[in-house]
Amino acid sequence: MFDLFSRLFKRDGSSATAKERLRLVLLSDHLSLSPDTVEALKRDLIAVISRYVKVDVGLCDVSFEQQAATVAMHANIPILGMQNERPAVAPPTYAKGEPRRNQASIHSSTGERPYLDDLKVTTPAATMTEADVAHVDAATNEALNSSEHSAPITKPNAPSSAN
């Protein structure tokens, strides 16, 4: 009788949890990526897309599916509209505890991009959307806000790009 009751009132069994945990662990097994890195990938993907179009961050769904011998990534990202300004090159977000040197190397490599000067002039940090800001971690956020007049890429070390 107790069994019957517990079954009637059980909303969600553990099998769904098992399935979800397996999905994630198999993905990291297959790609040799840690679950943290996979999460960071999802965040960055959404952040990059939201620089070009306005997306509904709450409804974004990024999943991975095992196919015969490969892994496919499926992203369902609802687009609310276009961004008004040209895309700002925002620094990527990182998982907690990841070393900052990656960020520095991305900044230095931006010197090769042809539209860099253009960006520096026309896109101040203020054009970043809420979605962007939400996905940029606290430290980077602070760095962006501390200087109203410069786009993020001009800050650390892109001396070659100065006019």
């Binding site: 079954r7 059980k10 969600d12 069994g13 553990s14 099998s15 769904a16 098992a18 399935k19 945990r21 397996l22 999905r23 662990v25 198999l26 097994d29 297959h30 095992q66 196919q67 015969a68 011998a69």
Partner: protein, 262 residues
């Protein structure tokens, strides 16, 4: 004649490789096929015990490979099921006593006078696994609906893909009542996660322990609930399209009234 050489593997131990090998082999033999079952678990042999032939071992697989006896001398004929033969593993040697090439030669020789050579693979993905796979053309991966078994099955499936062997899945020890209440992953869940084609679904049943205790294949007694399940598995292996037994029916009352619907 050249029979099919099939490895039964799982990665994780204790999910039912030996039980599957024994009963699938017995089911095929009951259908009139000539079947050789090979225990590739050198040092930890068990297939002989599950099939109740442990007292009749004279020579083992390693002695055949080392040329100390003829292959036919080491094969044990099952006295209950015609056409079923067992090649026992060595119990006091280790897994490095045989190479992949030797294993391939051995199973190829067996395939010359059997329709099916079914290899019971040791757990793990090391030397013993590589040997068993080297001797096979097809694979059957056995798993249970548990996270650890599925993860290991996934690893093994990856290894089998690398060798480009066709592979099918047996999901063992399904508990329909638990699946219904959401406490166990369903057959569909497991197939989806492993993206594998299904060969068989075996419900969890105390018959397995009971028949293993006696050293009898389940298919020997056609009144057993699992006998029909293994027979269907054998037919699928032979290319027949056979519907899977529905597992979601038996409420206790149904079971008492109607018995198992094979």
């Amino acid at each position: 004649m050249s029979g099919r050489r099939i490895v039964v593997t799982s990665g994780k131990g204790g999910v039912g490789k030996t039980t599957t090998t024994a009963n699938l082999g017995a089911a095929l033999a009951k259908r009139g096929r000539k079947v050789a079952l090979v225990d590739a678990d050198i040092g930890l042999r068990n297939l002989d015990l599950v099939l109740g032939v442990e007292k009749r071992i004279v020579f083992d697989l390693i002695e055949v490979v080392e040329g100390r006896c003829q292959l036919r001398q080491a094969l044990i004929r099952d006295k209950r099921i015609e056409n079923l033969w067992i090649l026992p593993a060595a119990q006091t040697r280790d897994k490095d006593s045989i190479t992949e090439a030797q294993f391939l030669r051995l199973t190829t020789d067996l395939a010359e006078f059997h329709d099916f050579v079914i290899i019971d693979c040791p757990a793990g993905i090391e030397h013993g696994f590589r040997n068993a796979v080297a001797g096979s053309q097809e694979a059957i991966v056995v798993t249970t609906p548990e996270v650890s078994a599925i993860r290991d099955a996934d690893r093994v499936i990856g290894k089998i893909h690398e060798r480009k062997l066709p592979m099918r899945l047996v999901i063992n020890r399904i508990r329909p009542d638990m699946v219904k209440s959401g406490e166990m992953m369903s057959v569909e869940d497991v197939c989806e996660i492993l993206s594998a084609e299904l060969l068989g679904i075996v419900p969890d049943d105390e018959e397995v322990i009971d028949t293993t205790n006696r050293g009898e294949p389940i298919v020997l007694d056609s009144t057993k609930r699992l006998a029909a399940i293994y027979d269907k598995m054998a037919r699928r292996l032979e290319g027949e399209i056979v519907e899977f037994t529905r597992l979601d029916e038996p409420s206790l009352l149904n079971r008492l009234l109607a018995g198992w619907r094979g």
